[in-house]
């Protein structure tokens, strides 16, 4: 790579600052009489190994970022989001009953689950499809993943407290139940709020 001469530097700056690709005639309009074509070729060669390329489309020239670096130009940002109640309940049912079909989850929950709920759990990496049940329609079954155990700090599913433990802990309290029933109607909204959340 030789040091660029004045024409190369001018063409380089011009194309960099240009709002659209330029023809050689347009470049000459700014820079005056010079071997624009030679400068373009030299620049294209200089930039070949770099993160920016000088590219010709039809008869217009412009700079663009190298194609193999495109993935750096997008940034993945993780944002913490709280799992909705519908999703948490669904996850709990899968954890306690796996492998379990969607129909079974709905029967246990007593409420239908929206499509998004299982998607969220799979996106989170906590739930996976676990084969099909040998029943008419061969419904898909769901089970938890090792990532699920990891996230909740469980050595195995047997570490989940049983129903008696839950009752002892007051988690089957009828008071909860009354409130539960009062708020049952809002279950669909939760799915909504889960999607809008964050």
């Amino acid at each position: 790579m030789t040091p660029p001469d004045e024409t190369m530097r001018a063409v380089e700056a011009l194309l960099f600052a240009a709002e659209a690709p330029m023809t050689i005639a347009e470049i000459r309009g700014h820079i005056g009489d010079a071997d624009i074509r030679a400068a373009l070729d030299a620049l294209a060669e200089d930039y070949a190994p770099r993160g920016i390329h000088l590219v010709r489309r039809e008869n217009r020239w412009h700079f663009e970022t190298a194609g193999d670096l495109a993935h750096y130009l997008r940034r993945d940002r993780e944002e913490p989001r709280k799992l909705s109640r519908a999703a948490t309940e669904t996850l709990a049912i899968i954890a306690y009953h796996e492998p379990v079909t969607r129909a079974e989850i709905e029967s246990i929950r007593g409420v239908q689950i929206s499509k998004g709920t299982l998607d969220v759990l799979m996106e989170a990496g906590w739930v996976r499809p676990a084969g099909r049940r040998e029943l008419p329609g061969r419904p898909l079954q769901y089970a938890t993943t090792p990532g699920f155990l990891d996230h909740f700090g469980l050595a195995s599913r047997r570490d989940l407290p049983g129903i008696d433990d839950l009752r002892a802990a007051g988690l089957l309290d009828p008071v909860d139940l009354v409130m539960e029933q009062a708020s049952m109607g809002s279950d669909d909204d939760e799915v909504e709020s889960c999607n809008n959340n964050g």
Partner: protein, 247 residues
């Protein structure tokens, strides 16, 4: 130096527009003395300023008030500098003169700095950023969060909701119409004579449930009468209602 201009036939005006106030005029006068403002003679500067303003007044020009205030202050400064010193007076006239000089230096410095700043290569005029940047994208992904407590309490909630262990519905103090019909119908079969509606009610203390049972049993009596299974009798409005199975 700004010139006096003949505006129309009578009034002449000092070209005050040329100066941004007395300090500006002072600075211009000082620079006619010396380029290095630290070496100017303050007395000479005062003379120049007073002469300038005097000249303007002699020409019957309108001179703005702040120029006159400055003139008065400079006249005072001049006499202080010339008269024998009064050590009681603070600050001393020399210090006042030094401060005036510092102000002129300061204004001059900022004026030159502004000029140098404006003469720099400027973005959008001499220097350009990329004309058509592709732009960067941020893709937001959710990191789902839930605690073990959320999980097990959710399961507790689901269980509590669906397990028959909790007879919460049966405890509600209500007798349904269906129950009342079955009950009245079966009790009628065991009786031959007229019997008051009240005698068909269950023997419970809960007044709420009694009220519900009474209402439902009354409706049951009407329904059974409609079906032709019972005869009803009442002496007058609000009198006790008697039931008897129809044979």
């Amino acid at each position: 130096m700004p010139e006096t201009t003949a505006d129309d036939q009578d009034t002449l005006e000092l070209d005050i527009e040329g100066w941004e106030g007395p300090l500006d005029l002072l600075l211009a006068l000082a620079r006619t003395q010396k380029v290095d403002l630290r070496e100017i003679s303050i007395l000479e500067l005062v003379e120049q300023y007073l002469g300038y303003v005097e000249n303007a007044r002699a020409l019957k020009l309108e001179v703005a008030a702040d120029y006159l205030v400055m003139a008065a202050w400079l006249a005072f400064l001049k006499s202080s500098l010339l008269l024998p010193r009064d050590p009681e007076v603070e600050p001393s006239p020399e210090e006042l003169a030094m401060r005036l000089q510092l102000r002129l230096e300061r204004l001059n410095a900022m004026r030159e700095a502004a000029a140098r700043l404006m003469a720099r290569d400027r973005m959008g005029r001499d220097i350009f950023p990329r004309g058509a940047p592709e732009g960067l994208r941020t893709v937001r992904t959710a990191r789902w969060q839930a605690e073990i407590y959320d999980l097990i309490s959710a399961y507790g909630r689901v269980s509590a909701r669906t397990r028959p262990v909790l007879h919460v519905v049966a405890q509600r103090p209500v007798m349904t119409l269906e129950t009342a019909i079955r009950r009245v119908e079966s009790m009628l079969g065991e009786r031959i004579d007229w019997a008051m509606l009240a005698s068909f009610l269950p023997d419970v203390a809960d007044p709420g449930f009694r009220k519900s049972a009474l209402a439902s049993s009354f409706l049951a009596a009407l329904e059974l009468a409609r079906q032709g299974k019972v005869e009803l009798r009442q002496q007058s409005a609000f009198a006790p209602l008697y039931l008897k199975a129809r044979q």
